[in-house]
């Protein structure tokens, strides 16, 4: 099955599931999810100017007064989805005050261990989870610690948006975030949510977290750890049986110039016409993966 033909059928399915507000929910509810909306906007925006415009309109309308975005419509607290929204605005070529405010929010937001008291606690009294609290990134929501996926998306968003004009503050947060990712890697490479060793026992990596962390590190020096993680992801990708994880594998391996043709064919076969994939974020990620190489990669970082 030609993957691009498959993608166009699925694009129509995803398009039909859009909400009148311009957003998408994860499933069939009326409550738009920022994650589903951003991924759908990226998947459909490259082909449809109208869809790009409506996604940008939705994002601008739902931005909070502090510059962040909530995880879903109706919530008033900014979340990690701010990074995804900034990526979306950048890729859809919408450079405006909304993006500047989002960058400001990202630069100010930090995991709870960014505070000296918690850093001290994790260094002295609470050593059950092995990590270096001096290296912090971004939380899922304010008031919690740094985790791999929000940190990775925040790094990508800042790298993309500041590629032509990077301030010292941005550079500093990128470096700190990269250091945090490298510190939280699993013992044999790869990443999970952010706990590599708990009570002295190494935990195993997850496919999607590894793929997303590698996207954030794509322009960093190819260290032995990054190489080991890439090798782990390549090996795992052969046996991944879930649409979402396989799609993230493709998106990540592609930017490392690894062959993804076989994986795309397998993904297209798993998807069929997309009807059975009820999760709109998954469907959108699958479209992005199938169209890898045919459109701007939404998470590619220019060097």
């Amino acid at each position: 099955m030609a993957t691009s033909t498959g993608a166009s059928v699925i694009e129509k399915a995803l398009l039909k599931r859009g909400l009148p507000s311009g957003g998408w929910s994860f499933f069939s509810s009326e409550q738009a999810s920022l994650e589903a909306t951003c991924l759908a906007g990226l998947a459909l925006g490259s082909n449809s100017h109208g869809k790009a415009v409506s996604t940008v309109f939705f994002l601008k309308k739902s931005q909070l007064s502090d510059g962040g975005w909530p995880a879903f419509q109706g919530d008033s607290k900014a979340a990690w989805t701010t990074a995804l929204a900034l990526c979306t605005l950048t890729v859809l070529n919408e450079i405006s005050i909304a993006s500047d405010r989002a960058l400001k929010w990202l630069l100010e937001e930090r995991g709870k261990e960014g505070h000296w008291f918690w850093r001290w606690k994790f260094k002295t009294a609470d050593r059950n989870v092995q990590f270096d609290p001096d290296k912090y990134g971004w939380p899922w929501i304010s008031g919690s610690a740094s985790w791999v996926i929000p940190t990775a998306f925040s790094i990508i968003a800042i790298k993309q948006f500041t590629v032509c004009n990077r301030t010292e503050a941005s550079e500093k947060r990128i470096h700190l975030g990269v250091d945090m990712l490298l510190d939280r890697a699993c013992v044999d490479g790869g990443w999970n949510s952010g706990n590599s060793i708990v009570y002295g026992v190494p935990l195993r990596p997850h496919v999607d977290a590894t793929a997303i962390a590698l996207l954030a590190l794509q322009d960093e020096q190819r260290s032995e750890l990054i190489q080991r993680s890439l090798t782990w992801l390549k090996k795992e990708s052969a046996g991944v049986y879930s649409v979402s994880s396989l799609a993230w594998c493709i998106l990540s391996l592609f930017v490392y110039q690894e062959p993804v043709g076989g994986l795309k064919n397998r993904l297209a076969a798993m998807l069929g016409d997309g009807r059975d994939i009820r999760n709109n974020a998954t469907l959108a990620t699958a479209i992005l993966a199938l169209k890898c190489g045919e459109m701007i990669h939404p998470f590619e970082v220019l060097r």
Binding site: S25, F26, F27, S29, E30, Q31, S33, E35, A71, F72, G74, D75, A79, W80, K112, N128, P139, W140, I141, G143, S144, A145, W147, I149, P150, N192, S193, V198, Y199, V201, L203, R204, H206, V207, D208, A209, Y241, S242, V243, S244, S245, N279, A281, T282
Partner: protein, 328 residues
């Protein structure tokens, strides 16, 4: 009257205690009381996960005379990771429970879970072997990490969270069944029916893991969640349980039991006793027994079997040795 140091200290402690009692009276920690005079528990023996479980479970459920006719039932299993070993509630038991509730007259059975570590729910559902059971009519799976959310004011105030966004599928169900895997837990000591309710807290809002609950106190968050979303029934999977460094890295432990209960505290206290633990040592049980359910053995009516006394206690991390204290 002359106030010496001893009297001063004694008076201060007395005043502090009085203030605390008064404060709890003025600002109670919880606004709900689910505890009844007596609770019912049935401990069923099952050596393995086989087709025979369904008949066993149906017989066990009938002992409770459950009122589920025409109601919407939510089964909340413990599906955490796509890992081998006894990490997740067994799918044979989940499927059997779903069919049993339909046979008992439930209008609809929804299996809902929001895995706390693995973001790819499809991966967990497939690895847990749940897909074949979902092919049946009237049994639907809801990803609680990504369901529509509503903000709910918490009915207890141990964590200080005040309110949580919770999934519609949970809030709209008439009858919530917690289906934990019987496991030790490296933060909470044990993970049973009450701790299992962490899975209703949506990752879409609170992340993977739901770290805000850890920062607010695991036991405190458990109490607040379970006060807000009452558990109507428990089916605990203790056929193959987990001991040691649970909930992910522990060792399999063949317990050969399914615990049914109409009270989550009674269920968890019974599971803890089966594990060789003193339930009073589990903080969310010792506090939860004041309003969520019954912990004391004399308030638990055994409908089938009981808790034996000759079993070898579950192993725990050294930090949790205190769980092995003498039983009350």
């Amino acid at each position: 009257m002359k106030l010496d140091r001893r009297r001063f200290l004694g008076s201060s402690v007395g005043v502090a205690a009085a203030v605390r009692v008064a404060a709890e009276w003025v600002w109670p920690k919880h606004t709900v009381w689910y505890r009844r005079p007596r609770s019912a528990v049935a401990v069923l023996s099952a050596a393995e996960y086989s087709e025979r479980i369904e008949a066993l479970l149906l017989d066990g459920l009938r002992l409770f005379r459950l009122q589920v006719l025409g109601r919407s039932v939510l089964l909340k299993p413990n599906l955490v990771e796509d890992l081998p070993g006894p990490v997740n509630t067994n799918s044979t038991l989940i499927g059997a429970a779903a069919r049993c509730f339909l046979r008992l007259g439930a209008e609809r059975v929804v299996i809902g879970e929001g895995p706390g570590h693995q973001r790819d729910t499809e991966l967990v559902v497939q690895a847990a072997g749940l897909k074949p059971h979902l092919a049946e009519q009237q049994i639907e799976f809801v990803d609680l990490n990504r369901d529509e959310l509503r903000k709910v004011r918490l009915k207890a105030n141990y964590s200080g969270l005040g309110a949580l966004w919770l999934p519609r599928a949970v809030l709209e169900s008439d009858f919530v069944v917690s289906m934990p895997k019987v496991k030790t837990h490296h933060w909470a000591g044990v993970t049973l029916s009450l701790k299992n309710m962490f899975g209703i807290v949506p990752g879409m809002k609170y992340g993977w893991p739901k770290n805000v609950l850890h920062w607010s106190g695991i036991h405190e968050s458990i109490l607040d969640i379970c006060a807000t979303v009452p558990i109507h029934f428990v089916i605990a999977d203790g056929i193959t349980a987990m001991e040691g460094n649970g909930p992910l890295q522990g060792n399999a432990r063949q317990l050969g039991k399914i615990v049914l209960a109409d009270d989550p505290v009674a269920a968890d206290a019974t599971c803890a006793r089966l594990m060789g633990f003193d339930p009073q040592q589990v903080r969310h049980l010792s506090e939860g027994c004041h309003f969520l359910g019954n912990l004391r053995e004399d308030r638990i009516r055994m409908l089938a079997e009981g808790v034996g006394t000759s079993m070898h206690p579950f192993s725990v991390l050294p930090e949790f040795d205190y769980l092995h204290a003498a039983r009350i």
